[in-house]
């Protein structure tokens, strides 16, 4: 249980929010220059390396699906030969 005076105190403290927000409105715009300008966020979003990689991965087209399919040998059946480091995927792709 909170007494009536304590409710009043909580309400008064809450009201300071209005004053703080009001005073913030008078902060000169020069002081805000350190804040990032996010107005062109949508334009720069595609420059993110993760989304770049996703775009590249989704742009690959499989044309002759199954044409070069080789029958698996008895040894190493189902194994896939790794031809490069996974981390260098981007580099390998550009070299090709």
């Amino acid at each position: 249980m909170i007494s009536r005076s304590e409710w009043g105190a909580c309400l008064f403290i809450g009201l300071t929010e209005l004053l703080a927000a009001f005073l913030l409105k008078f902060v000169p715009s020069k002081w805000l220059e350190f804040l990032p300008d996010i107005s062109d966020f949508e334009d720069t979003a595609h420059q993110d390396p993760v989304t770049d990689l996703y775009d590249q991965a989704t742009s690959i087209k499989v044309t002759d699906f199954g044409a070069d399919k080789e029958k698996p040998t008895e040894e190493g059946e189902g194994e896939v030969e790794m031809t490069g480091d996974d981390n260098n995927y981007q580099q390998d792709k550009t070299e090709q």
């Binding site: 249980m1 909580c10 403290i13 929010e17 927000a21 715009s29 990032p36 996010i38 966020f41």
Partner: protein, 271 residues
Amino acid sequence: MGSGCSATKANAELVLTENKFSSVTAAVQWGRNLFLNCTRFLQFQLTVNISLILTIFIGIFIFSEPPMTAQMLLWINLVMDAFAAIALGTEPPIRRIVKGKPREQTALLNQRQVLRQIIGVSLWNLVIMLLTFFLAGNASGVGSFSYMANMNIKSPETNPDSPNFCPPPKATFDVSKFSQGKMYDPSKKKFDLSKLPEDKQAECKAFREGFAKKTVFTYVFNVFMFLQLFNMINCRMVAASDTNVFEKFFHNWTFIIILAICFVAQYVLVN
């Protein structure tokens, strides 16, 4: 215009089906208002989120447990998501909204003005919450208490007539009944626990500290909620030049009803 020939309408970028030029003003008003409503809600939600994360994170270090329980967080989440979305998302446009320049096509928020409010108000909330953490102990009735106190200890003796009776720090009963008793000191207006049997003193002290901690957490919750409810009023006006947050306050009854529900529900929840 809707009454134009079909070839013109087919090639037009915009067709006014109502045959009224005033429709353009209304469309611009509501279009801009939609963007502003998104900004209002985002500003409110981000402020509450940042404040809540900081409060809980710092509170854990001070109290050795989160200063808000799961039920409190659920209520905050309900206000922050559902109620705020209804209240701020239904703000009708103000007539002067058409006078400003059109916003950039790619602008997400009102840029730096909104960021300034989010960061500034969150910091203010943090300062208030820290003060509440440290000052609410005095109001809890114990004065100073161990922040490691266990809130779940039940009163060792609840019968006021018993010589082992352990009173809670905030007297929720008629203290005059105890004025004749040994424990209550009317001059200091507090209970003197040293008059309890020695083996009961430590137990009673632990209970009272736990009770005081619970009271402090109630203050923390109450203060946080009031800060956010008034912040909801702040978020009605998000444009750089809008300083009067009470402008056209009564032209959105949904907002007022939601705000009233929140205040009443807060009172019921705490009491």
